[in-house]
């Protein structure tokens, strides 16, 4: 791929990021809601499933937009939410911390 093609693809990816930013934000919001609910022992089945799906989707897509750290964090959350019986109660704070870091990554992509 030559430099012009690469620049064109990068520009097109940036436009797509803007296009899909609302759904990235929705996915992060699902993780924030689930983390907050889990911390207060009110995590519903729907919130749990939504968080698991959101983490899976973010893990699959963030790295494609050059947000490798985002994929690593989302994958970590996916593992936690996929655990039999739900996330480890000792990790309630961790769930919120990771969701907050993901929020920062999504909001600050240049």
């Amino acid at each position: 791929m030559d430099a012009v093609q690469q620049a064109n693809l990068t520009a097109a990816l940036d436009r797509m990021w803007e296009q899909f930013l609302p759904q990235m934000r929705e996915r992060v919001a699902a993780l924030e809601v689930a983390a907050e609910a889990f911390a207060s022992d009110r995590l519903s089945l729907e919130q749990h499933q939504a968080a698991n799906a959101a983490a899976h989707k973010l893990a699959g897509v963030l790295g494609t937009f050059n947000l490798t750290r985002g994929t690593v964090l989302a994958r970590e959350l996916e593992v936690m939410y996929s655990r039999d019986g739900g996330p480890d109660p000792d990790l309630a704070t961790k769930l919120a911390e990771i969701a907050a870091e993901l929020r920062g990554i999504v909001e600050n992509r240049k």
């Binding site: 693809l9 797509m16 899976h56 893990a59 699959g60 897509v61 963030l62 494609t64 994958r75």
Partner: protein, 124 residues
């Protein structure tokens, strides 16, 4: 001549980035489908040389879609490459047992996706 490839993925961000990548970087002819059911129809209409197939989709998932493609003589011989964010060893064994050409993992690099697909399909 440009290769013809069908992308089946329910996630519109992944589907559109993959299509953009294959069209821009490799100049391939790309068709898309947003579900397994739609993918079965598009595979017959578009007659792709290969299919890039997502694993986790609602209603008809990737493995089910693959089996349906294999049942139809019109699509049975089209090489299928799975695209998945699942990286657990048990998942990988399951995919290997299906009989697909290859498994590629999300997130992919849009700059090199076409090269990866071409390599696993022997298009180089």
């Amino acid at each position: 001549m440009a290769h013809r490839i069908l992308i089946i993925d329910d996630e519109d961000d992944i589907r559109e980035v993959a299509a953009l990548s294959l069209e821009t970087v490799a100049g391939w002819d790309v068709a898309v489908a947003n579900s397994g059911a739609q993918g079965l129809v598009r595979a017959i209409e578009f007659k792709p040389e290969a299919i890039l197939l997502d694993v986790m989709m609602p209603e008809m998932d990737g493995p089910s879609t693959f089996r349906e493609l294999r049942k139809n003589p019109a699509t049975a011989r089209i090489p299928v490459v799975l695209l998945t964010a699942k990286v657990q060893p048990s998942d990988q064994r399951t995919f290997a047992d299906l009989g697909v050409e290859a498994v590629l993992f999300k997130p992919f690099d849009p700059m090199t996706l076409a090269t990866q697909i071409a390599e696993v399909l022997g298009w180089n």
